[in-house]
């Protein structure tokens, strides 16, 4: 049975330009963020799926975070998800600290202070005080997956954010030491403002400031980015446009509609939907339902 992902990939049309720019960004030494935006239904998530598939084909490591209305979308949720996608072993100090901040009575298992000199290559330049790195691999630390700060302490939120981020970046720098990582964010419009600030200021900021290398980000959302000149140099921006007639014809072909009817159907769809991909897909679904019903009735 075809999975939803397989179906999406097989029906993917247009966006070759955006995909090409994504591949260039992945290989670029100058750009490390791609921001893709467009109104709801323009195919951002489908494009993201295509990019993720591209990473899989190139055997690139990846992580994905999709903001959802019914789940926590804060900085801690983002870090946890990236950690879980990439491999928890690199992030034991980070997990240990999350538990320390959220579980009453928890005592840290890792007393580790890592300072990273200059830009990165942790293994070469890190000074590790107070613990032997080899010991950490033997320590089993399971995230309690609690969000609420423990009530027997009063660690300010700014401190929690700063320290967790530092530990997370340390872990992430070990992940990317030898291998490129691509991190995808979808539904960015559902991120709260403080989370957005954290993503740009702390996560992307770590790359801009040279504390993290060998990592690329793709951010999909409904809103265009507000970038100053310094950021613009590092960011690839792509606004998704509605589909044109030829692309709609191409899409209809991929949905299995017969060649003869495609041009007229494409004209009708373009007129009704103005090229908005989700509405085109809905109308084609409806058309195929009608066709199936007729075939069933004619039996």
């Amino acid at each position: 049975m075809t999975t939803i992902l397989e179906r999406r990939l097989s029906e993917f049309v247009n966006r070759d330009n955006e995909l090409r720019r994504f591949c260039e960004m992945v290989e670029s030494d100058n750009k490390f963020i791609m921001v893709v935006w467009g109104e709801s239904g323009m195919g951002k998530s489908s494009l993201l799926a295509r990019m993720i598939h591209e990473c899989a084909q190139r055997k690139l490591r990846k992580a994905e975070f999709v903001s959802k209305d019914t789940r926590s979308n804060d900085y801690m949720a983002i870090m946890r998800k990236i950690r879980d996608d990439v491999g928890v072993d690199f992030f034991k100090p980070f997990t240990d600290l999350i538990n320390f901040y959220t579980k009453e009575g928890y005592q840290p298992k890792i007393e580790l202070s890592v300072t990273v000199a200059g830009s990165i290559e942790v293994a070469k330049k890190a000074q590790i005080e107070g613990s032997n790195v080899g010991d950490i691999s033997a320590v089993v630390i399971k995230d309690n997956m609690i969000n609420v700060p423990r009530s027997d302490m009063a660690v300010p939120e700014t401190e929690r954010m700063a320290k967790l981020t530092d530990r997370f970046i340390e872990g992430l720098s070990m992940v990317v030491e030898n291998e490129l990582l691509v991190v995808f964010f979808d539904a960015g419009e559902k991120m709260s403002l403080d989370t957005e600030k954290w993503v740009w200021g702390e996560l992307f900021g770590a790359v801009r400031d040279g504390r993290l290398n060998n990592i690329k980000f793709v951010l999909c959302g409904q809103n265009p980015p507000k970038l100053d000149r310094d950021w613009r140099i590092l960011v690839e921006e792509a606004e998704l446009q509605p589909l044109g007639r030829e692309h709609i014809i191409n899409y209809l072909g991929k949905r299995g509609l017969d060649e003869a009817s495609r041009p007229d159907l494409a004209d009708m769809l373009l007129s009704h939907t103005k090229g908005k991909i989700s509405q085109i897909a809905e109308m084609v679904d409806a058309f195929l339902q009608l066709k199936e019903r007729r075939e069933h009735n004619n039996g």
Binding site: S40, N73, P156, S192, Q279, E282
Partner: protein, 464 residues
């Protein structure tokens, strides 16, 4: 249900009617799976539920994720809105009630983050069953999240409630606006916050208790902007309204405290004292221990500003007494720090040091690094005066590290500057120059040019 013009409606019209109905039901929750479909369609067996989910998954509007399937946002919005029509609302409420019961059961078996997600979803559907109960649940969750400084969580909760915009009763709409205003304030988006609170004042549906809160919030905004007179005007409007409405009487001593702070910061110390004394009196009448502790603490800082150090100490001690009675374990750190400052003013170094050490002990237990850094900075200054140079250097060094970790750039620079002065005093000029230079660079980088110029003057006093 009637068919409208959008693509999804056309699709539903052409689907098998039973399937179409079930897809519409799937638009009520944000995600669905066979288990949830069985809740939405009672008496549907699991085999059919699984088959139906597979059928839906073939549609372009259905997406898959780690927590099941979901309908694309725009399509879901259209379908969800249809449920608010008079002919559909009863069925919607019944389906929502089943979802509430489902999430109630589910929450028993999960913990931590998962339990929080379930509570959120339950709240969302409870609004659809009984709006007032659901809204009360939203307010409780939002209050908890704010108390924990989880702003992102508040933002998510507010987004969820907004899905009911077209059927929210006016009373809930204005309270939602209030929560949005508080969220904007927490994010320091003052214009946005001001807009929300002013909307409350202009809305006839706003009850007096909410108007009072809106005035007070506007007062906070202008205090943050350091526009004291405007802040004071708003507070006074809030106070005037609160005194005429019985429902707002419990807010009066809080407003008086806010007025006291605003007058203090604007320099009108006698008015400030008057407000604070009134606040204390009212807080005493209703035995609000935390309220009394806050008011006495503010009175203490007022007296420090005035130079009445002994009166300040009396006020801080009173505040501490009430704080301890209210079982606030960590709040006393600030008070001990303030007492340390007061005794520093009196040049009673030993007493000052004792209070700073007490404050430090509490901030360490609390895990508050920034609090520790500030106290260490103060403690080091006292130790310099006691000629305890080694200890002072040690404490400044620790403060510098903590300020740096907390990205408190200004205080980081100040602590370096202070340490540089000590090194200069004990004639370790190399380290003094290093600290002064780093402090100056930090001040410059963050736009504090006056401070940078002061440091430069100190650098120039060092021998080459």
């Amino acid at each position: 249900m009637s068919v409208q013009g959008s693509g999804v409606e056309v699709l539903l019209h052409l689907m098998d009617p039973a399937s179409a109905k079930q897809l519409r039901l799937c638009a009520i929750p944000h995600q669905f799976n066979p288990g949830i479909l069985q809740v939405l369609v009672p008496n549907m067996d699991m085999d059919l539920a699984e088959e139906r989910c597979k059928e839906f998954s073939k549609l372009s509007i259905v997406l898959s994720g780690s927590d099941g399937w979901s309908i694309h946002d725009e399509a879901r919005r259209n379908l969800f809105a249809q449920w608010f029509k008079p002919e559909n609302i009863a069925e919607f409420a019944a389906a929502s009630a089943r979802l509430v019961a489902y999430f109630d059961q589910f929450s028993v078996n999960v913990q931590g983050q998962s339990q929080e997600n379930v509570r959120r979803r339950r709240m969302f559907h409870l609004i659809g069953v009984e709006q007032s109960k659901g809204f009360a649940e939203f307010e409780q969750l939002c209050r908890q999240a704010r108390h924990q400084f989880r702003i992102s969580e508040c933002a998510s909760l507010i987004r969820l409630v907004h899905e009911y915009d077209s059927i929210l009763i006016p009373q809930h709409k204005v309270w939602l606006t209030y929560h949005e205003g508080k969220l904007s304030s927490d994010l320091r988006q003052w214009e946005e916050a001001e807009k929300h609170f002013k909307n409350i004042l202009e809305d006839v549906a706003s009850p007096p208790v909410l108007r009072v809160k809106a005035y007070v919030r506007l007062g906070y905004i202008y205090c943050e902007k350091r526009l004291w007179q405007i802040a004071i005007d708003y507070y006074q409007q809030g106070l005037q309204l609160a005194t005429t409405k019985a429902s707002s009487h419990d807010q009066i001593h809080h407003i008086l405290l806010d007025l006291g702070i605003a007058f203090r910061d604007s320099g009108d110390l006698s008015q400030a004292e008057k407000m604070l004394q009134n606040s204390i009196k009212l807080a005493e009448e209703i035995n609000d221990l935390a309220g009394m502790a806050s008011a006495y603490n503010t009175l203490g800082t007022l007296n420090l500003k005035r130079g009445d150090t002994h009166l300040a100490i009396e006020a801080f001690e009173k505040s501490l007494e009430y704080l301890e009675k209210s079982n606030d374990v960590f709040g006393s750190a600030q008070l001990y720090n303030n007492l340390g400052i007061a005794y520093t003013d009196l040049r009673e170094w030993e007493k000052s040091e004792q209070f700073y050490q007490k404050s430090l002990e509490i901030t360490r237990r609390a895990g508050d690094s920034l609090g520790q850094a500030r106290t260490l900075n103060n403690l080091a200054r006292v130790q310099v005066n006691q000629n305890k140079i080694d200890q002072a250097i040690k404490n400044y060094t620790q403060a510098i590290r903590l300020f740096g970790e907390m990205r408190e750039h200004y205080n980081h620079a100040v602590a370096k500057y202070n340490r540089g002065k000590i090194y200069r005093r004990i004639k370790i000029f190399k380290l003094s120059r290093q600290d002064f230079t780093e402090a100056m660079e930090l001040f410059k980088r963050y736009g504090k040019h006056e401070e940078a110029d002061s440091v430069l003057k100190d650098i120039n006093t060092l021998p080459c």
